[in-house]
Amino acid sequence: MTTDSGAASRDSRPASTEAGRDTYVRIDRVTKKFGAFTAVRQVSLDIRRGEIFCLLGGSGCGKTTLLRMLAGFEQPTEGRLYIDGVDVTDVPPYERPVNMMFQSYALFPHMSVFENVAFGLKQDRVPKAEIRDRVAEMLALVQLQDYGARKPHQLSGGQRQRVALARALAKRPKLLLLDEPLGALDKKLRERTQFELVGIQEKLGVTFVIVTHDQEEAMVLGTRIGVMHAGEILQVGTPTDIYEYPTSRYVADFIGSVNLYEGRIVEDEPDHVRIEVPDMATTVYVDHGIAAPPTAEVAVAIRPEKIHITPYKPLEAENVVRGTIQEIAYLGDNSRYVVRLDTGKVVRVTRPNVYRHDERLAWDDSVWMHWHPSSIVVVTR
């Protein structure tokens, strides 16, 4: 576990402590089993009022299952769920103050757009005139004012998605659950809709829980991200926390790309450590202490964009390794290099192409790489 300044201050923030002044949803040691298979394992999570919380993880890791338990479609095998301090574990879905936007949108095909959006309000016996106003307001919010009379099959995929959003928001829920809300959209539309979603969320102040397997989407949308793997939450934090201070090999590897090498602690001081990394044939200097027993099996992780690459020997004495360029990919905004070390291992490096005419490196060039001592993340899990 890293105890660098960022992670330390995050953990001491008042809101994330158990007092949870702002906690709106509390998931307390929830487990969900399907037969012998455990889809969600002992998950505890606090979601704050008014935030956009992203559940991020690979396929089949249990994100949807967790969301469906919040909506009330699945019953936890163990554990309790609280919304706004009320235990809702045994409350049926139609009585929960929660609305969900389904991955497939689940629009009622036999109803018009207007009737779809009005459906939830009708269940609450809202007066007709008020329903009309509220639906109009919702359709204006998602820019579909003139589409009220259409049937879902007469809409494009993006329009359907917005109707689904309007329908889920019409009852003004305090908590909105979104399961891969943008999964069916193409890249351009998805990016635009991401910002629209954030805009709507800020305007209405609703708490969003968004399930996604797209890390970029999680980074753009989420005020905080919970990374799930095999039914467990591995780490919860802001996008920066998750990217810059991963606490496990899995999270470091899952988010973005990373160079990950196993190592052994050779010097353990409160303000710095040195870790011998056989794969790089060097000892890495880290400018902060770590909270791990000296015998722990640790790994060092370093992001490709944090590595400098030069054709000449840098001035620094520490954190310098030498290698040969094996692969170059020019991507326009930046270039990716794969550098082969003498040990046979490779290091991935990304550099921005700041100048048009750069003295670019070439294949088989001999290069030096170095990085700042604060750039290294040491993970124990």
């Binding site: 479609f73 049926p92 139609y94 929660v98 389904f102 009622f108 939830g120 329908r167 009852k171």
Partner: protein
């Protein structure tokens, strides 16, 4: 992949192309045969008998074989005479007996259809939502009666509902009645027979419609605050409407003209149109009147079906 590569399009021009064209022509012929044969079949075995019945309905009875006058006669001087007796239809429409029989048939068929729907919907729902391992078994159970003859099954009900039958035995044993009930030869027995015989025709289309229903729609309704009963009436029922229409037609139409069940299970006062036709045909040997009734019924039912379809498609568009 390799199959496409070897296909006619990928082949070199020239002779293979001609081969491809020939295959295309043959395919066209095969397709036409596949589509055409059933139509031919329907034409032969539906339209031709219909025309024969139509012909007889426009004739009058005669003491000959077959027992009706031919429509077309040749006079001695080579004049062809065609006599169409429309009066049969007038007679059938004007006579009290036929009207009562028809109304009675429609009532019995309608009530039977309704009972089939009320029993069949939960059945179909149960089967559609059963674990998939169970589904086939349940399905087989619904289709099981078809493995024995229809007539035999109706006869079995005579035994079951008789004075000394198991139903009466059970009622007596439970102390619900003091002496055996007269169940046979009542409308009750007719309803039992009808519902029993036609239930599978209701369940199968309903099952198909319910099975198709997207379960997330029900979750969406619950999520928006609809209780299960409300969800059923606002989502499930409207979205399985086509199955309901199909099931009701499949039950109602044959039930209106049903002859065997009222004849075997019904009493003397169970007046159904099928029985009237039978009597006209075999007892009175009045083929033209029997045919006229059949034609009128066909027109009536056809009109009914067209009306239903209109209603349904209008709702679909709205």
């Amino acid at each position: 992949m390799s199959a496409t590569a070897r296909g006619p399009r990928a082949a070199a021009p020239g002779a293979p192309l001609r081969g491809a064209l020939a295959t295309g022509a043959r395919l066209g012929l095969a397709r036409r045969l596949v589509i055409g044969l059933p139509y031919f079949w329907l034409l032969l075995f539906f339209l031709v008998p219909f025309l024969i019945v139509l012909k007889i309905s426009l004739s009058t009875t005669a003491l000959r074989l077959p027992p009706y006058e031919p429509l077309v006669t040749w006079a001695a001087d080579g004049v062809m005479q065609v006599k169409l007796h429309w009066s049969n239809f007038g007679f059938v429409l004007g006579d009290e007996l036929y009207r009562t029989a028809l109304l009675n048939s429609i009532e019995i068929a309608g009530v039977s259809t309704l009972i089939c729907l009320l029993i069949g919907y939960p059945m179909a729902y149960g089967i559609a939502r059963a674990p998939s391992a169970w589904r086939n078994v349940l399905f087989l159970l619904v289709a099981l009666p078809f493995f024995t003859s229809f007539l035999l099954r109706v006869y079995a009900w005579i035994g079951l509902l008789g004075r000394n039958g198991p139903v009466n035995d059970l009622l007596l044993a439970l102390g619900l009645v003091d002496q055996p009930l007269q169940l046979l030869q009542t409308d009750f027995a007719v309803y039992v027979g009808m519902v029993y015989s036609y239930l599978p025709f209701m369940v199968l289309p309903l099952y198909a419609a319910i099975e198709k229903l997207d379960l997330t729609l029900l979750e969406a309704a619950a999520d928006l605050g609809a209780r299960p009963v409300k969800t059923f009436f606002t989502v499930t029922l409207p979205l399985t409407k086509e199955g309901i229409f199909a099931g009701c037609l499949l039950v109602f139409i044959p039930a209106v003209g049903e002859f065997v069940i009222p004849a075997l299970l019904g009493g003397p006062d169970t007046l159904m149109i099928g029985r009237v036709v039978w009597d006209e045909f075999f007892s009175n040997r009045d083929w033209p009147i029997a045919s006229a009734i059949a034609i009128l019924m066909l027109v009536l039912l056809l009109g009914f079906v067209v009306l239903l379809q209109r209603l349904q498609s209008r709702e679909g568009r709205a």
